[in-house]
């Protein structure tokens, strides 16, 4: 067993679990899966799901069926930065098609793919509750709104710089 929460993550885990009544610790599953995904490289390998099942004293299958139901859990490895671009009606009528095509072109990938260097993944998603600030995308925990081609270029550059700085 190599995947494990470190001390800080364990503290957060405990903080999440005590929110629910005694004996109902399974209720913490969604928040704990978020924590696991954030802690283990942005996705949930089976090993991570089994680990979470153990922590919550539930069956692994109970974790799998939840992890596969919700769109925010990644069941396959993703790039360092995931561009989740909204494609639903309000964004579409505000020009999301052009933005999606532009991002595809700039990154050289199709929706669902990751760039060869492992830095970017492009995902098309449904309404993120930012329809008035369209076109938009979610990257990690933040929203990038009012997207234009120039803004997309600047954002890609910003994340590339982050990668360079970390290496």
């Amino acid at each position: 067993m190599s995947l494990q929460f470190n001390n800080e993550q364990m503290t957060e885990f405990k903080r999440l679990v005590v929110r629910y009544p005694e004996g109902k610790q399974k209720s913490a599953l969604l928040p704990v899966l978020h924590l696991a995904q954030d802690s283990f490289g942005g996705w949930l390998p089976t090993e991570a799901m089994d680990y979470v099942a153990g922590l919550l004293s539930i069956e692994p299958i109970e974790v799998y069926e939840v992890a596969t139901f919700y769109s925010m859990y990644n069941l396959k490895p993703v790039g360092k930065f995931v561009f989740e671009v909204c494609q639903t009606g309000p964004c579409m009528i505000s020009g999301s098609d052009n933005i999606i095509a532009y991002i595809q072109n700039q990154l050289g990938i199709q929706p669902g793919e990751t760039t060869k260097d492992g830095v970017f993944t492009l995902k098309l998603v449904e309404c993120l509750g930012a329809c008035g600030y369209a076109p938009m995308m979610q990257v990690g925990k933040i929203y990038r709104e009012h997207l234009t081609k120039e803004k997309v270029d600047a954002i890609i550059e910003e994340y590339r710089m982050q990668v360079v700085a970390q290496n």
Binding site: L29, H34, I58, S71, Q87, T88, G89, E126, C131
Partner: protein
């Protein structure tokens, strides 16, 4: 300027913090409720206010509260629905992001009235930073004695917990939300039992929308009767509208429900008119699930009367010529928008979000998407339109939860009002790939001379 009960202080610098919120009169209403009012009196004020649930269904909040079962020794729970995933809707986000303490004050009063010692905010997972804002506000309120044990010396204990969802529109449906809160897939439950009897962990539960619960603060502050004087008919108080699409000023607006749709779209106080000097073609006035209306039916009812931004007026004419207030997600389409394409994105949305429990919804949403896609790509047949109509009719009313209806209505309304645009797509296979049907006879009768 209309009356502002919720967003009045939204622009005060620092209002997100406890100190500023308190200085501006925050938590005074909670003090009044907890120290001077009985539980019955609070519920009575909410009933008198006529407040209708702001999550979409418009069910009277006071009545819902009075249904909660109170079996001896069983804890009860209030759950705040902050799942906000109906396309076009982003008002709860605004409220939570800018006025977190207003929501917490509303939750405290409501928890007191319902006897909920552990109250949950179920927030959509993508609003991660909003969840953080709420957690910080909860911590501040706890430090200042407005949450925790023995609040204000009244003996009432209340903790508020933030629970992040993980991306599933269906979890906005209250029984799916409860399942999700229990750590399961968001599969709606068959009712009865209703949540008020057996909700989360089989305990009596009330689920209310963010805006509904925030509105409890002005209601208790001014009294239910005063609140009910604002607005008109059974549309009492103020309503948050999130406006988006092809308008000059997208954003979240608080309206008292006496304003006309025309004023809402064209006045500078609100949407500021159609963007880029274009003309209004259509509008989905209450979130993606409600029927789309062409401009002529949007601004005036079928009887030729002015249409207003309230529950009754927006639904005037039923589904034949009217729509619904829904969640307040106001989506405006200009003359360049293609109704087929717009309907396709919504059909895809509902197919993606169907939980899959009922075959009419699971299969029907898939078929609707495929057929509309075919038409959009210039490969449709005229018979496809009737097929679509048939499928949506077979979904409506035949499913466990209202998502099935929510998926059927947008398709039905698009065909009902824009059938000739669908036909044009089918009859002009190549042309439809490079140009749009345009405005035709749907034009706004007020701003575009015939």
């Amino acid at each position: 300027m209309g009356v502002k009960l919720l967003l009045e202080k939204a622009n005060v610098p620092g209002i997100r913090t406890y100190d500023v919120y308190r200085r501006e009169g925050g938590y005074v209403t909670a003090e009044k409720a907890l120290k001077e009012m009985t539980i019955e009196a609070i519920v009575e004020e909410v009933k008198k206010s006529g407040l209708r649930g702001r999550g979409g269904a418009g069910f009277p909040a006071g009545m819902k509260w009075s249904f909660i079962a109170k079996p001896e020794g069983v804890p009860r729970h209030l759950v705040c629905n902050a799942d906000e995933s109906e396309p076009g809707t982003f008002k709860d986000r605004y409220l939570m992001e800018f006025l977190p303490h207003l929501l917490i004050e509303g939750l405290l009063i409501s928890s007191f009235a319902l006897g909920s010692n552990d109250t949950y905010i179920y927030i959509r997972g993508e609003y991660a930073w909003v969840a953080t804002i709420l957690e910080e506000a909860i911590e501040e309120a706890t430090k200042n004695g407005f949450l925790g044990n023995n609040i204000l010396g009244t003996g009432f204990d209340c903790r508020i917990h933030v629970h992040r969802g993980a991306g599933a529109y269906i979890c906005g449906e209250e029984t799916a939300l409860i399942e999700s809160l229990e750590g399961k897939r968001g599969n709606p439950r068959i009712k009865p039992p209703f949540p008020a009897i057996q909700g989360v962990w089989m305990r009596p539960t009330v689920v209310n929308n963010v805006e509904t619960l925030a509105a409890i603060v002005p209601i208790i502050k001014m009294g239910g009767e005063e609140y009910a004087k604002i607005g008109i008919g059974r549309s009492t108080g103020t309503k948050l509208i999130s406006a988006c699409g092809n308008i000059n000023k997208p954003g979240v607006y608080e309206i008292d429900m006496t304003i006309s749709v025309e004023d809402f779209i064209y006045s500078d106080e609100y949407c500021g008119g159609i963007a880029n000097g274009k003309k209004l073609k259509a509008c989905i006035p209450g979130g993606s699930s409600v029927p789309i209306l062409p401009a002529n039916l949007l601004l005036k009812t079928a009887k030729g009367e002015t249409r207003y931004m309230n529950y009754e007026s927006l639904s005037d004419g039923g589904f034949a010529t009217g729509s619904m207030m829904g969640s307040g997600g106001f989506i405006v389409l200009d003359e360049d928008q293609c109704i087929v394409k717009n309907t396709l994105t919504l059909a895809r949305f509902y197919r993606h979000e169907s939980c899959g429990q009922c075959s009419p919804c699971r299969e029907g949403t898939g078929w609707m998407e495929k057929i509309i896609q075919k038409i959009e790509l210039g490969k449709g047949e005229i018979s496809d339109i009737d097929l679509l109509w048939d499928i949506q009719r077979k979904i409506e009313g035949n499913t466990i939860c209202p998502l099935g209806d929510a998926a059927a209505w947008p398709v039905a309304a698009a065909i009902r009002h824009f059938r000739d645009e669908f036909e044009w797509h089918i009859n002009n296979r190549e042309l439809s790939q490079t140009s749009n049907f345009g405005l035709q006879h749907y034009a706004d009768p007020i701003h575009v001379p015939a």
